[in-house]
């Protein structure tokens, strides 16, 4: 993981359709060498997948909320993860430190669907209370490590 790798990752994160020739030019490498480095970045799991970023609004996902979940029992284990992953509207789930046990990010088509997700969250074993923080406007959402300078 050197400077060249970081430059390749920055270019790919911005536009993964960039050709290996252009990628090489951006990193000071030939197309073949760029190809080989990217192959290894995938192999090592640094690049987890190549994907498309879809506008949630186009999918009618207009309501975003963060839900702080209090647990009556320990919720940091596998069964909780599986139960939360089974709810498609739950985009992220994290075990957190603080008064809450788990924090989930939820995206739904409306407030009615959000209410339904909260109902399903209460059916997850251990959940004793929830507090929803509803987003009114999203300033921005960007990938981790986006556009940061590749510094040695």
């Amino acid at each position: 993981m050197d400077d060249i790798d970081r430059r390749l990752l920055a270019a790919l994160q911005e536009d993964a359709t960039t050709s290996y020739a252009a990628l090489g030019a951006a990193a000071g490498l030939s197309a073949g060498a760029a190809h080989e480095r990217v192959r290894k970045l995938r192999e090592r799991g640094v690049i987890r997948r190549t994907t498309v970023d879809i506008d949630p609004a186009a999918m009618d996902l207009d309501v975003l909320a963060f839900v702080l979940i209090d647990g009556a029992t320990w919720m940091g284990d596998e069964p909780t993860s599986t139960a939360l992953a089974a709810i498609p509207e739950v985009e992220e789930a994290h075990v957190v430190a603080g008064s809450a046990s788990v924090l989930v990010k939820v995206r739904t088509t409306g407030t009615g669907a959000l209410q339904d997700v909260l109902r399903r969250l209460y059916e997850v074993p251990g959940v004793s209370a929830t507090e929803a923080v509803v987003a009114l406007d999203t300033f921005f959402e960007r990938p981790p490590w986006f556009h940061r300078e590749a510094k040695g």
Copy 2:
């Protein structure tokens, strides 16, 4: 935005390196037609970008926190957005309803760097208090609308 578009989006979200021939086969279309559909999805902004999903741990981003920000003044406008976007460690920023004004998602290389981000957050005009909820473990993080069945 019909069933075919949803099938194309689902396939691309799972693996954006899929060829148009394979994409067409998955959606019941020729390669040319699949290409044209995807071109239009990009044009309409449904597909915002083609990108790579990078493992944060590979970038030494080991600490994740959600910070609830209280504001002494109205923070729902442009200057706040710009000030928050200027902090690279801030991955997301949302105006929220509830006791807090803004919620940000922050990823840093350690607790020291997190403390530094909190310091910079206090320098954003209007910020009167912050409450950080630190993630101990991430169950999962997936794209919006991931892997949902394309139903009419």
